[in-house]
Symmetry: C2
């Protein structure tokens, strides 16, 4: 997920420096709290499981208008045919590791004629999808750093050499170009291996017998996605961003609860976010682990992600019964609610312009032109309800006593101002925009009655101007809303069409952005820099395993 | 120096494997000899002196038809102006370290606005001369490996970062291009340093008072060249080839004797070459130190270099009086003489075609079309005389008793067949070619009387078709021949014009190839891959310091 930055902030302050300073200022939490949270985050840090992988075949890239993004791979020989022949005539070879992997690449080069008398120069390009290897990266039109793209130039000075690329890569396919060699000797690439890393150490339960092939494939692809993103935090994408975002954490932890059950990782991430919260107690949307744990401080406050933290904490408690952690972090969840009333009008309707004027970032989805008022209204009500539920389980109801009347007021305001009884659709903002986002959040928040929910969800299908989801992230909430509306067949059809669409287009892992009508959709103006293994896209695992009667 | 390769040989045999095997076969030396030589080579291995260097200024590249290769640098600010400002607006900056350096580059990058949220991508291009940074490397037209060129692409994943390029580089100028960054943060390159390495640990004597500014500058440039090439062997060039060649060793050790006096390094190199000699006892022309000591086995036998080993050994003995080493290596020198009679005709004239048919490489100089018969005739006579001199000092005259009659016969043959009394020039081959090479070697060998020598050397100046030297390597022998002919002013003028010409064109170290009329001359079809700090070009140090009355 891209981040918006407040360019004014100059904030190179490490947590280690920050914490003692905070204890003196008006920190919402005590220094002792933060230090203990950080300690608990570190104590929950998983060991990475390392698995040695080897490529399974050579492939050739072929242009094919019917293939995803116009490129496919076709088998082009076994590895022995690469290893046994001079590499000089094999520049441009594409190696297929057979699955999406995250970790460290090593290759071995040996002379087969004479000693080497000159260095070798290689370009290694790692791709998650075939088109990534077939699309020139330069001149680079993308909106994110060119350095995210995984092409590395390597000079090998002496042979024999076993070289490990220091950079962690995420990929399935590797293209090897020979950029420099000498006539004085000849050589082979005699071996390749890959140290794959993930903190997943368990196997999920098998699916129920009779689950369809497509659903099984969607589940497997979601599991692969989740496993790749589960490192020492829930990363958003192992190729790009590689950081902990609250929104991804929430969806990943849902899927984890129904599959790998690595709850320690969820605990770690909840503690990291708490320990690194803003001084006013509200949460940063994302954090980094290196060079030491720190929040992405320059970034705008991402309102809805801070709210969703509470839902993630509640779900953690439900999954683990770990009351101690939930009680420990309760002050953080409690604090996030203090923002709810901040930008409401007198009727209780959220005012996006007011929030944005304060510098808040309202995300909801990657989709230009999406009006976010109704979605935020829904997210606020939904997260308040979940927070009350969490408080109830912890015996802290009195601390959120202001929320129930706020829920009532905001629900009433939404029903009065956002609902169009005639069309049965919820409308957002001054333009009275119809969108999948608005309907989904009005349903999930309970603003819509069950009958209204069904009507709204069905009306979407015939509403030509409805703004569609741009990401699997919003599509997750859309599926959840369909299920909550009792539209189980529609939910199943959506998963089969949307995530199944990716599977049918050859996905090994689910993609950050997916528009069935536009393979090259990119929030960053250049599709190769998209992440093709992205945390927020793994949630079919959650749906399929939580609702086996719907998805089979 | 480029190497010619016998492509038929498949010879991945390390010394460690080779030596035991050799002891069983018909090795000219015993396994014990080779092992002891290798041990002595290792025992003489110098520790590298590491010196921390920092850049001295920023420069700008400017096209200038009057500058060497069309490019010069002009000052463009101090380092603080780089370090104190965002690097984003400084991509393409060229940093000047003020002198030629060999070693390892390190730079430090720090964020100045927000934490880094994306990797950075840099291209670092190291150049010995300005045009190297101004000439696109791709598409690469050169005849040697593209990988010799010193451009490296570097991905920095996290900040702050202190990154050391693993590759050893040789350069004065560094160009830094920023290929990828993110709008989410800003950064500075806050420091750069360089670990310069050389095995030179001593200071040479100052030149005699009254030495001219130009001669002083030529000497200083030669010393810098020599120092840079003196690593754990005498390297031919620290940027390119980076290996021990007999021809370079010989000239470097001459210059070393009159300057740094690091005789241990000469000893080490003489032992390495002996220990790694061919099974028939003749010497390989070049050796590598890594991954372990080994000869460049696939290369053609370079006849004259094997002969020059003897001269290098004799000079070592003269400089050090180390009889023990000279006696230990005498069998190697003795053996090299066994090739002399191999390709002579009945009159005693060397037959290059016959030698080349056997696969021998006759080098003499990089100059297309040079006929090498007369040069080789001279080199053979010269090295026989030097070998007899060495034998005499070691009490081994009886072992070379066949040489004096051979010298007489070959000298007579040369005088009869190669000398043209009318022109006073020595002619080479069937085309009766006039060249600087032929005259120089006929003089150095003593084939020419002193009167003939002077006549020949002077006649060259008016001989329009005389093939000129293409390298400082041959020019060294030309200077030596002028001195031997008593043409001291001409020798001085040559040094001032040729090496002084490089100095006047801005050389920090002397170049591998230099043609005053063609700045872009390259034996490899692409001048940026030339070595601009090359061992065989350092010998003005020897001349200036050995003959202070001539060079002052």
């Amino acid at each position: 997920m891209l981040k918006k930055i407040k360019p004014s902030v100059l904030s190179i302050i490490w947590a280690a420096i920050l914490l003692p300073a905070m204890s003196k200022a008006q920190d919402h939490y005590t220094a002792e709290q933060r230090r203990a949270w950080l300690d608990k985050a570190e104590a929950s840090k998983p060991a990475l499981i390392e698995t040695e992988k080897r490529p399974v075949r050579l492939v050739k890239l072929e242009a094919d208008p019917s293939a995803f993004q116009g490129w496919k791979t076709v088998p082009a020989g076994d590895m022995e045919s690469l290893y046994s022949r001079s590499f000089k005539q094999q520049s441009g070879t594409v190696v297929d590791f057979g699955e999406h992997l995250t970790g460290y690449f090593t290759f071995t080069i040996k002379s087969i004629r004479n000693f080497s008398d000159a260095p070798l120069r290689f370009k290694l390009t790692f791709g998650e999808v075939p088109a990534e290897l077939a699309t020139p990266f330069d001149p680079y039109p993308g909106g994110l750093s060119r350095a995210w793209l995984q092409d590395e130039t390597v000079t090998i000075t002496e042979l024999p050499a076993t070289f490990t690329l220091p950079r962690r890569v995420a990929f399935r396919y590797l293209k090897i170009d020979l950029l420099g060699s000498s006539g004085g000797f000849d050589f082979v690439i005699s071996d390749m291996k890959f140290k794959a890393v993930s903190s997943v150490s368990t196997q999920p339960e098998p699916l129920q017998p009779g689950t369809s092939a497509l659903i099984s494939k969607i589940d497997a692809t979601g599991l692969a996605t989740l496993k790749e993103c589960m490192q020492t935090v829930y990363e958003d994408g192992p190729k790009r961003d590689r950081r902990l975002w609250i929104g991804d954490l929430y969806l990943e932890s849902l899927a984890n609860t129904y599959s790998f059950k690595n709850h320690q990782l969820t605990k770690r991430c909840l503690y990291i976010l708490a320990a690194l919260a803003q001084q006013d107690g509200f949460l940063y949307a994302s954090t980094f682990e290196t060079p030491q744990l720190h929040a992405q401080e320059g970034q705008s406050f991402l309102f809805e992600y801070a709210l969703l933290y509470n839902v993630a904490l509640k779900e953690y408690l439900m999954a683990t019964s770990d009351r101690e952690t939930a009680l420990d972090l309760w002050p953080v969840a409690r604090r996030q609610m203090d923002n709810i009333a901040r930008h409401l009008d007198s009727k209780g309707l959220f005012q996006p312009e007011s929030a944005q004027k304060e510098g808040w970032w309202l995300f909801v989805d990657w989709r230009d032109g999406l009006d976010k008022q109704a979605s935020l209204q829904g997210i606020m009500i939904y997260t308040m309800k979940e927070t009350i539920e969490l408080a109830r389980k912890l015996g802290k109801e009195q601390e959120v006593a202001t929320l129930p009347p706020l829920i009532s007021k905001m629900t009433a305001a939404a029903r009065t101002s956002l609902y169009d009884a005639k069309s049965g659709l919820f409308l957002s903002g001054q333009s009275r925009q119809v969108s999948y986002a608005s309907q989904s959040w009005m349903v999930l928040s309970g603003v819509a009655s069950k009958a209204q929910a069904q009507k709204a969800m069905k009306a979407l299908a015939t509403s030509k101007n409805a703004v569609k989801p741009g990401t699997p992230y919003l599509t997750h909430y859309y599926v959840a809303a369909l299920i909550q509306s009792g539209l189980h067949q529609e939910a199943r059809a959506l998963v089969e069409n949307y995530w199944g669409g990716m599977v049918n287009k050859g996905a090994d892992t689910f993609w950050e952005a997916y528009d069935p009508d536009n393979d090259k959709l990119s929030p960053y103006n250049f599709f190769p820099v998209n992440s093709y293994c992205h945390a927020w896209s793994c949630t079919p695992v959650y749906f399929i395993r939580k609702y086996p009667d719907i998805f089979r």
